[in-house]
Every structure is written in structure tokens, then in C-alpha cells.
Amino acid sequence: MKWNSRTRCALVCFGFILLFSGFSFRLVYLQMLKHDEYAGLAAEKHVYKQTIYAERGVIYDANSEVLAHNIPLQTIVADATHLNDVDAIVDLVGDELKISKAELTEKLRGERRYIVLKRAVPETLADSLRAKLRAQNLRGIYFEHDSGRIYPNGSMLCHVIGFTDFEHHGIQGVEASMDEYLRGQDGYRYIEHNRAGQEIVLYRGQERASRNGCQVHLTVDLNLQNIVENEIDAAMREYSPKKATIILMRPQTGEILAMANRPHFDINLRSEAKPEEMKNRAIIDMMEPGSTFKIVSAAAALNEHKVKPDSTIFCEKGLWNFGGTALHDHRPFTDLSVKDILVKSSNIGAAKLALSVGDQKFYEYIRRFGFGERTGVELPGEIAGLIRSPQSWSKISITRIPMGHEVGVTPLQMTVAMATIANGGKLITPRIVKSITTSDGKTISSLSPIVLRQVISPQTAREIGDALRGVVSDRGTASAAAVPGFVIAGKTGTAQKVDPKGGYDKDKYVVSFSGYLPADRPEFVGLVVLDDAQTKPEQNYGGLVAGPIFSRIAERAARYLDLEPHEEIRKALPVERVALTNAPHH
């Protein structure tokens, strides 16, 4: 072979062809066969998913007063591998965040890479720290988005509003029951950043906007709630009961206007609250209702046409032996009309009314009034109460249940039962949520009254209502519950507390009053329950303890709701006063 110039040239060309073919194959291999793998590796280094945070919805009262709100906060964290001057950072961050320098040094010089320095830092403080870090060219400290929940009214309505946990999930009250609506949905965005960690906006990838949580409007009116809270506080000071509950409800719609329990807690300081203080006793406490339950036996007997309002029942002069056990009245009544059985609160009379109806029918009426099942209010943890079926009743149960023993009911169930009388016999589902709106104001759900069933006829409801007016009169057990200018219907309850050792504790009572106002056109139904009020034994009655509390609440609520005094009572007032009351404002 001759190595002439042509051969050498051909060899060089061949070499180049081989070289560039190699490059080409390598290029094809990297760009086509290995594309996904290397693109993924590159993306891992530069692309990351940035969360766009959604705001939790705000909770309002019926008049759009804020009950729960969000406050933007920051969590200050450090990346130990990015810290450029630990000593300077300790000095600055320690001073700004009020963390001891020894603690901070220990944290930053530890083995962990991701270090949380402080949570729930206010936005202004975080901004100031950010600026100072930048001015001193200190690196390795980062700011993560966070938010806190603020309850401007502190302890007011605490059991209804509830609260959220560390991860902003509702765990009690409306915060829990409406969590699905309040929570919202975080969005995201795929972004690339440069070597300095700054986002390259040009290379933004897929994006989904966040959806803020819905706003929940409650039926509770904070003005009425304030009245109730003041009165329950006054009752706690006066009687020091172990527990107390007050509920106000609009009977026609089932809207809960106010709900307060004691003991209670400040929602903003919930970490300091005891478990006992966090219970919404209106829906999770079971109590024997006492004589307020007599409305059920009277309603059952009247609705079944076993008696008429004026039918007389012999009340055995205050002592009746039934089933080998004595049943007492607080007075030796002889003949009482059905109406007077409620007015005078005769146990024997109520027992005889239930007997006239029979076990099974009486049980049906108890259930129809909503006892033994959850009311369906939008609050978590509600209990159904305890109503045993007639098969498990003892021989004397039919005489004890009508006076509110041997049954367990919640205060809300008792309020709903009274609302049924006020509402012409219709059982309405109580509601605490008035409407739900999106963050831009569109209504997605609004309250509409739910009539569960017609428990008793309107005629029977009217007859019971008439009898309940008599309770709040000089003849009845709750004359102290009267409100000047208004006709009130109501029923007292005084139940001995169950002794954990068995039987009843003779010195401890649950006193209650449930009523509505005005009696002819009820605007609200109220229930006052005090558990173990500390007062003289001769005064520890529903009519004497809970009745006056109801009276004060009803008077203030009537004034707030601008209810017109009853016509007949107005006529009885002096002419000058009526004229002034109705004087047009000039």
C-alpha cells in the first residue's frame, strides 16, 4: 500500500467520520433514549412544586360580626448547610425572636439540617428580621408560610365556634362540623429557580390556583348571646352551680339564637383549658329533665283524646302507692284539671295521664318529641340521650318517666320539645348554620327550616300552651319567670341528681325552666338549666332559681328584638306610659 497523499487524506476523513458518528450516536442516545431520565434529574435539581396556600373561611354571626378570623404568621426555619456566619446569625435571630443564644447555638450547631427556630411569628417581626438578614448578608434562615386562627370574642360562644388543631383542621364546634367548607384547597405551581434560589418566572410550569375556604354564617345573634352570657355569669356568681346551660331558639325556623355553657374557656388560650371546660353541655350532657318532661305526658293524653284540658284527675292527696312504691307530690292535691296538673306540677297527675295513654303509646310520643335521637344540629359530638323501650321498663317506669325520671335528655332536646309546643305541634330541626357563602360572596347553602313531623295537633299544642301560661302566673310554680308586659308560657323542672352509688342524691338538684315568649306569637324559646345550684334547700327549685334567670333574659331579649308588649297587659298599664311607649319619634 502506497502512503500517498490521497490515501492519507482518505484516512483522516475516515477518522473524522468515525469520530463524528460516535458523537452523533452519543447525542441520539442522550437526547432520545435517555431523555426522560436526564430531564427528570435536571427537573429535580431546579424545578419544585410551590404551594399556593388557601385561606380558611371566616365564621360570622347572624349580623356578620366576625367570630373566627385568620392571621398571617411565619415559621422561621434554618438550613444548617446554608448558614454562612453562625455567630452573627445567633446574635441577630436571638435578639429578634427572643430566643436564648445558648439554645439557638445548640440548635444551629446540632446535627440536624432542617431546624425550626420559632413558630407563629407575626408578619411584621418576620419582615423586620428578613430585612436585617439581607442587610448583613446572612444566609441560611428561611421563612415559611403559616397562619393562625383568631377568635375576637375570646370565651363568648366558645363551645359553638370550637377551634382548630395545629394543622388547621377543625376539631370542635362549627370549626369541626363545617371543616369541609371552611378548609379550602391549596393550589400549586411548578417553578424553576436559579443558582441564587430566585424563581425564574419565565419557566413557570403547570399551575392550579388555590380555593379559599367558604364563609360560614351562624344563626347565633351576638347581641342575644351577650345577654345570655351576662346572665349565665351572674347565675354562676349567685348560685355557683357545677354546670349551667342556657339556650335561646326561634321555634318557627329552628334557628339557635344563643347557646352558652359553664364552665367555659377562652378559645384563644385553648391549650390552657381543661377538658371539662371544653364540653358543649347543651348537646353532650345527659340529664334527667324533671317536671319539664310533664308536657310530654299531658300532650300525649290530650292528643289521644283520653282527657280534655278541663278533665279532672284525682291526685291522691299527695301520696300514691303504685307498684309497691310510693309516689309523692310536693303538696296534697286532690282533684286537678289536666291544665292544673301542669300549672301545679303534680307528679301523680302526670303519672295518671301517662297511664291513661299506655306504655307503648307514651313511648311513641316521647320518641315523636325527638327524645332518644340526635336533633341533627350542625355541631359535632351530639348524643342521642337515653330512652329505654317499654320492654325494658320496670313496673313503676310509667309513673316515673312522666315526671322526667328514668330518661336521659340533652338540654337541646328539651328546648326542641318546648319549641314543638310553641310551634303548633311541629317538630323543627334546630340549626346553628344560617348560610355558607364562597369567599367572593356567592351563597352556596342557606337555612331553610326542616319540619320533621307533626308531633301533636295544633289544637293540642294550643291547649298545652294555655296550661303553660298558667305555670307563669301567681297560681303556678314559676311566677318569678314572668316578664312585665308579656305573656309567657313555660314549665319548671326540679330533678334530684342521680347518685353514682345508686338511687338519688337528696341534696343535689338539677333545676331548669323552659319557656317561650310571647305566648301567643312565640319569638323565641328559652331553656335555663343549673346543675347543683348552691342555695337553701327550700329555694332550690326550677321556678325560684332558673325562672328568674329566664325572666331577666327574656326581658332583655324582648327589648332587643323590639317585641310589642301584649295588648291586654298594655291596656292595664297607665295611659301615660302606653302613650309614651308608642309615641312616634320626632
Partner: protein, 122 residues
């Protein structure tokens, strides 16, 4: 020597040269425009980011202000100020209350009322 060099010279094709110059200039211009526009995009991206940060900051300030307003106008705050004597409230006297609720109408009001028609006097 001079004759042979002159003989080997190629003549410059002015039209072709001009075409190439224009093409090169055009390509250069396109390239520079691409770089300029890309830089502009980066710049606008940075401005967009800055504006987004500003909006986020304003929203945060708005939220903080809303929380402060809610806290300061809350019932408990007002009651606290009332106790401290910053606010003074006077209960409305009964004779100053104007009742706006319209009383229920008497059903007889809608009934036909008897009238006595007087003969018109002339």
C-alpha cells in the same frame, strides 16, 4: 509577475456580496432581537414576581388590619373598654323607645264598613 497576478484575480461579485451582507445583517439582527426580547421576558418576569410579592404583602397587611379591626371592635373588647371608662353608655329610658313593630291589624278593618250617604246639598 504583475500580469500573472492580475490574471489570477477573481472579480468581486458586488450583487452577491451585498446579498450576503444583507442576509448576515438580518440574521444578526434577528439574533440580537431574540436575545433582547428574551432578556426583556426575564426582566418582565422579575417585575411580575415583584408585583406578586407586593400584592401578597398588601394582602397580608390587609389581613392583619382586618384581624386588628375585628379584635378592637369585638364585643369583649368594647366591654373591656367600657369597664375601663373609655366608653360611656347610657341605658335608653323606656319613654325614649320608639317601637317600630307594626301591631297586628284588626280583622274587622278589612270588612265593609257601613256608611251613611248624605244627600248632596245644592
Amino acid at each position: 509577475m504583475n500580469r500573472s497576478r492580475r490574471k489570477n484575480w477573481n472579480e468581486v461579485n458586488a450583487a452577491s456580496l451585498a446579498r450576503w451582507i444583507v442576509l448576515t445583517a438580518f440574521l444578526a439582527l434577528v439574533g440580537l432581537s431574540y436575545v433582547y426580547l428574551t432578556l426583556q421576558l426575564y426582566h418582565l418576569g422579575d417585575r411580575k414576581k415583584a408585583l406578586e410579592n407586593e400584592v401578597a404583602s398588601l394582602r397580608t397587611q390587609n389581613n392583619v388590619a382586618s384581624v386588628q379591626i375585628a379584635a378592637l371592635t369585638s364585643r369583649s373588647a368594647l366591654q373591656r373598654r367600657l369597664k375601663e371608662g373609655y366608653l360611656k353608655m347610657t341605658p335608653i329610658a323606656e319613654h325614649n323607645i320608639v317601637r317600630l313593630t307594626i301591631s297586628a291589624r284588626n280583622p274587622n278593618e278589612d270588612a265593609i264598613q257601613p256608611v251613611a250617604n248624605q244627600p248632596a246639598g245644592r
